[in-house]
């Protein structure tokens, strides 16, 4: 009984380590076979359409609403201290530093990451990947690498659009609806937001998230058991794992980036 439990634990650990190793080798292989993604750039553009352009609606709409909620809640709290003018700082800094990259990445993981996993998982289940190999076409170079680079390139744009839309939402609620002074809203924001410290770090964050999400999504799809159940399980794992990875990476990156500020 006890022996069985220990055996189970050992087996799971070995499986886990094996999977991490496989994922690392998969990631390396993707990087090494990226040549095609750039030589035949049309492939990457096609994937950018599916993971970037089609995610635009959800990113823009949620950015707008997140910004509007920040405007309302921030005003409620700041009003207690009589510093409503700092609303611009609050909205801009929280969006540019944290919410923009993180929420955009979470949405990207559930919108585009799950689609990538399902697509590749199904390609595997219907033996399209094996067929490619039979025709001496490398599936990593032809299928995986373009999707990887498309995700990595799309992610910072999506995060920037999310932040910009959120700041616009905060402006709508704060200035147009509640009536915070427009001049101090923008000027306080401009004096508090630093290009390198805040905006550039946000962009770096979103690039890292893009790498993490697409790698996890591609690996889960590539590794999925070739059954209907296997593909559905892999899709679920993609969303769960990449969301957790985004949040954990965000903590690590924030700890490195914003340690020295004030």
């Amino acid at each position: 009984m006890l022996k069985q439990a220990i055996e189970n634990l050992g087996n799971r650990t070995v499986q886990g380590v094996w999977r991490i190793g496989f994922a690392a080798r998969f990631f390396l292989a993707t990087l090494l076979h990226s040549g095609t993604a750039f030589r035949r750039f049309g492939l990457t553009i096609r994937e950018m359409y599916f993971s970037g352009v089609l995610s635009l609606i959800i990113i823009l709409v949620s950015g707008l609403f997140v910004g509007m909620v920040l405007g309302l809640q921030g005003y409620e709290t700041l009003q207690t201290y009589g510093s409503e003018e700092a609303l611009g700082i609050l909205v801009a800094l929280s969006l540019v530093r944290e919410l923009g990259p993180v929420v955009a990445a979470l949405l990207f993981a559930s919108r585009a990451g799950s689609a990538i996993t399902a697509e590749i998982g199904l390609m595997k289940a219907t033996e399209q990947l094996s067929a490619m190999e039979m025709m001496a076409v490398d599936p990593i170079a032809r299928v995986v690498a373009p999707r990887f680079w498309a995700g990595v390139v799309s992610m910072p744009f999506l995060a920037a659009l999310f932040s910009a839309m959120g700041i616009f939402g905060g402006y709508l609620v704060g200035v147009q609806l509640i009536g915070v002074d427009e001049g101090s809203f923008w000027s306080q924001m401009q004096s508090a937001v630093d290009f390198e410290q805040d905006i550039l770090n946000g962009v770096i964050k979103s690039v890292v998230f893009g790498v993490a999400i697409t790698t996890i999504a591609l690996f889960e799809g590539y590794d999925a058991p070739p059954t209907a159940e296997g593909v559905s399980g892999a899709t679920t794992r993609t969303v769960v794992t990449s969301s957790l990875a985004v949040l954990a990476l965000d903590f690590v990156l924030t700890a490195f980036m914003f340690r020295g500020i004030n």
Binding site: V53, A160, A164, D198
Partner: protein, 155 residues
């Protein structure tokens, strides 16, 4: 889907993304107005800088003329050496005074410059000689209490 339509959409997406980044950089972040190219640095020494931080504004007559570039501790004189990066457009006389002030009661601290009457202007790497330290609230309260105690003491 048609190849050109696809290219068009992705192109629009990239343009929108770059526009958003530019919006963040210019409208939200105001790519710092004072660059290192059109600025000069002067050093001011203080016994106590209070809560002054790097990137705090340097103001003269209430107008921002530069930023605090660097704050370090001088282990020989036991003073704080504050490097101010001032905009080249503004030149100050050599006998300008620098004081550490607080905006509002609880606001951030900044450096206020008050121009003197010297005809020679401050140059790069010059030193501001006359400085006024930050007001430390604890010292102020201590002095006040000490004064009160003196008043109440029997003659």
């Amino acid at each position: 889907m048609n190849r050109t339509v696809l290219d068009l959409w992705v192109g629009l997406f990239v343009i929108a993304g770059i526009a958003a980044l530019l919006f963040l950089a210019l409208k939200v972040g105001s790519m710092s107005a004072v660059n290192s190219s059109d600025s000069y640095e002067v050093v001011a020494r203080f016994d106590n800088i209070g809560g002054l931080k790097p990137r705090a504004p340097v103001k003269s007559a209430g107008v921002v003329v530069g930023r605090v570039a660097d704050i370090r501790f001088d282990n020989e004189t036991y003073e704080a050496a504050v490097t101010l990066r001032l905009d080249k457009r503004y030149a100050f006389p050599k006998d300008t005074t620098a004081a550490i002030m607080t905006s509002g009661l609880l606001g951030e601290q900044y450096i206020g410059l008050e121009a003197g009457g010297d005809s020679v202007k401050l140059k790069d790497k010059d030193r501001i000689l006359i400085t006024q330290d930050a007001v430390v609230l604890e010292n102020l309260i201590g002095q006040f209490l000490y004064g009160k105690a003196q008043e109440g003491a029997p003659q």
